[in-house]
Symmetry: C2
Subunit: 320 residues, 2 copies
């Protein structure tokens, strides 16, 4: 495992021309509600609307020219797919994307907008992997796994580096966990930069494989979990789990209603658009799963790609 | 008229501890769509969700102690009301607020949250003024007009100062106009800092008093205009109109459908929550009312206080 702060710093230098240094926002109303001081790292304001722009750019721009020519490939429920397509376009190489057939419309459109070549598959882990293997065999492209790839994890960790540059004295960092790419990079960067910081991961109770795995000491994947947090439906990856065991202090879970309430509260108070997955750490605060009173808390808001016609609090209004 | 760059700079020093230095955001997708480079000054991310925090803070913190003790008063459709209540609370003095009975629920709640003492009135300019006069007679408070007050205009101009510090080489600044407080401060600051910059105001065609007044060379107020842009229903003030004639290059108008489309586009692409009034300048770009091709364009996004249960594109969904 060569993923350390040096690798994350190298990624930062590599991707800086291709990403946004996102702002860190604070909000008096949300601070008053929880008794802590919250610092929102706004990766929803990142290129293509999610932190995934970082990891994908690092992977694509790490490739040797001869490798890069054959293109890159991945399977992803959405944000990583768009991010990889975007990075590949910036480098002028093809991106082959396997997407589950139930991917959010917004995310499919994003991949298309960046020129990604899409292959749809059934929405299971096995189907994704099979479809991706077929693509790799045909194209000889380089696989860029959405979260198990070290170059990807290093890129995702650059958000935490920026957060801690802007707010050096954090007591706690909260991060959502799905496959664990963001969590791995965040935990390694945060603990290296400030050994006293506590790192807590949050996930939907309806996709609680990381929490169960963390307590059991072994990976216990979930199959086809049903959660509104579409970015967190994936089970945690093997290297991601090992990093979580070593560097993460706790994994907490939140309800579906809590995710929707947290999402709405962030829109209403902070005035930014976040997707359900991004609201999961704040949901953990609202539901009392993590103690933030009198603490300085960094929260990675992972993305903002939502379908504005299908908001969870207006999609099914009462009929008069 | 003592409103000049020096007054705006003095306001900036005075209010800095009480406001947010809001970020300036860019967006590749929106740039590609218009052929210009857009720089969004995010006053929706300002304290209480609107630029009005600036002018109100400057007015309240400009008062001598003996004046301040009697409190402040105003009439306002919403954001100024909340801003004045907030500033008064920060200084520990009372704020008396006259609000039209059709004010947005979100905005009434904001005023209440900051401890403002509300008097409701009919939604006409005459009723507002009468109710406010009665409050002033009773309380001896200092009137802080939402846009004709020079201290307010100076405070609003500080957003443009920050924008032009962050992006010095702007060709064009776009600003919404209702009463004209933001426009007055913005135009004076922008022209003083960069004489070559073009300043263009945008308003709803359904509340086009500023555009008609600008062309006629005299104030032609509108009565009870019907526009979704609730912050821009007011007719331009007298001093604001004089400043507009002198410093503003053009006033353009946009359709109601254009405002909704622009609002949705900003949410979708930039991932921020803006209210209809704030979307009006971008609507002018979408509707081709202002030429931005190959130009560097600063856009003041005035606020983000919307009712998330009543979004214009989801409030009346088709019933299955």
């Amino acid at each position: 495992m060569s993923l350390d702060l040096a690798a994350i710093r190298a990624a930062h230098v590599r991707i800086r021309p291709h990403i946004t240094r996102t702002p860190v926002l604070t909000n008096a109303r949300l601070d008053a509600a929880c008794g802590g001081r919250l610092f929102f790292k706004c990766e929803n304001l990142q290129k293509m609307g999610a932190f995934k722009a970082r990891g994908a750019a690092n992977a694509v721009f790490s490739l040797a020219d001869v490798e890069a020519l054959r293109g890159v490939a991945t399977h992803s429920s959405g944000n990583h797919a768009a991010a990889l397509a975007r990075a590949a376009k910036l480098r002028g190489i093809p991106a082959h994307i396997v997407m589950p057939s139930n991917s959010a419309k917004t995310k499919v459109r994003l991949v298309e907008a960046y020129g990604g070549k899409i292959t749809f598959c059934e929405p299971t882990q096995a189907a994704r992997e099979a479809a991706c293997a077929a693509v790799l065999e045909r194209t000889l492209a380089t696989m860029v796994h959405p979260y198990e790839d070290e170059r990807v994890m290093a890129g995702q960790g650059t958000a935490a580096v920026e957060l801690m540059e802007d707010v050096p004295e954090l007591d706690l960092v909260l991060c959502p966990v799905g496959g664990g790419g963001l969590l791995a990079g965040t935990a390694i960067a945060a603990k290296a930069l400030r050994p006293s910081v506590r790192v807590v991961a949050a996930e939907p109770a309806a996709a609680d494989d990381s929490a169960r795995s963390f307590r059991a000491g072994q990976r216990l994947p979930v199959v086809a979990p049903k959660t509104i947090a579409d970015g967190l439906r994936t089970s945690i990856g093997e290297p991601n789990f090992e990093i979580t065991r070593r560097w993460v202090d706790d994994v907490v879970t939140v309800s579906e209603a809590g995710i929707i309430a947290a999402m709405r509260m962030i829109w209403d108070a902070v005035k930014i658009v976040v997707e359900p997955s991004a609201a999961v750490p704040y949901a953990a605060i609202m539901e009392g799963r993590v103690d933030v009173a009198h603490r300085r808390v960094g929260i990675i808001l992972s993305g903002g790609n939502v379908d504005l016609d299908q908001l969870p609090w207006t999609a099914h209004p009462p009929v008069a």
